[in-house]
């Protein structure tokens, strides 16, 4: 038999705590990779989206004016628009292609698992497992 020793008065309270724990752990994981400088994260996301679109369009150098962030990078650093786009992507791909989706997968998956938790011990366990998994990223 199990004895799960915890501070919650009922399952509802435990689930609310667990959801918050998961979100907090995901936030901490993100903070290890992305900046919190005001406006900087939005800038990186815009640059990355522009570079991704430019690369997926086949690097149309003649249309670089349609990709303002790639164009700005090219103008600032010189070289080709392709090189500028690849440079932006090399910085952003790890986060956008791997780390960010992984964090979100754990976060959303764990919260989904909470939907079928019917015991306080399960809520604590799911939150603890999510926290551990997010701590390893």
């Amino acid at each position: 038999m199990r004895f799960d020793v915890h501070p919650f008065k009922d399952l509802t309270e435990a689930l609310e705590w667990a959801r918050n724990e998961i979100d907090q752990a995901a936030g901490a994981a993100r903070a290890r990779y992305i900046t919190i400088v005001p406006g900087q994260d939005a800038t990186y996301q815009a640059k990355y989206a522009d570079a991704l679109a430019f690369s997926r369009a086949g690097y149309p150098e003649e249309k670089v004016a349609d990709y303002p962030w790639v164009n700005a990078e090219k103008s600032a650093l010189g070289g080709t628009a392709r090189a500028a786009a690849d440079s932006i992507r090399s910085s952003g791909d790890p986060w956008n292609m791997v780390v960010g989706p992984s964090i979100e997968q754990i976060r959303i998956g764990s919260k989904n698992e909470l939907l079928s938790a019917d015991a306080i011990g399960d809520a604590v366990r799911i939150a603890a497992e999510a926290r551990a998994a997010l701590g390893r990223i």
């Binding site: 199990r2 004895f3 020793v5 915890h6 501070p7 604590v124 366990r125 603890a128």
Partner: protein, 139 residues
């Protein structure tokens, strides 16, 4: 004036189940007259109630549950377990510490998890067995 001899003897008082409530040295003549449930013993031992009981009119050592613990330390993450074996079916189990819990043992191994760090005391009680106390440090 007639002198009355006082007979001071060590006795234990007990209830219908044999559970000892106290141990003292008293004049037994007054006890007999009051119809008290008592048993003469060799000496006053204040902790007799923890170690002995009265069975069929005799002072008897309380039987012991053969309890083992998998670990004295556990991670306080709601997942890692301390397993306690040997707690008899029907024993009242209480956890005392930063959080509390209680229940009745079903005779199976008991797996404890802790969501909050701290020192806990697991107590199991089933008379006439001697109480069991297990300390666990959740870190």
């Amino acid at each position: 004036m007639e002198e009355i001899a006082i007979e001071m003897k060590a006795v234990v008082f007990y209830d219908a189940t044999g559970r000892i409530s106290s141990c003292a040295k008293l004049d037994t003549r007054s006890l007999a007259a009051a119809g008290a449930n008592y048993l003469e013993v060799d000496e006053v031992v204040p902790t007799y109630d923890a170690t002995h009981y009265v069975k069929k009119g005799a002072l008897t050592e309380r039987p012991r549950m053969n309890v083992t613990t998998s670990s004295a330390t556990v991670t306080a993450n709601g997942v890692s377990e301390v397993t306690v074996t040997g707690i008899q079916k029907g024993a009242q189990v209480m956890v005392i510490g930063p959080q509390a819990a209680h229940g009745t043992a079903n005779g199976e191994d008991i797996h404890f998890t802790f969501a909050t760090a701290g020192e806990y005391l697991i107590v199991a009680r089933l008379f006439p067995f001697a109480d069991v106390e297990v300390k666990v440090n959740a870190v």
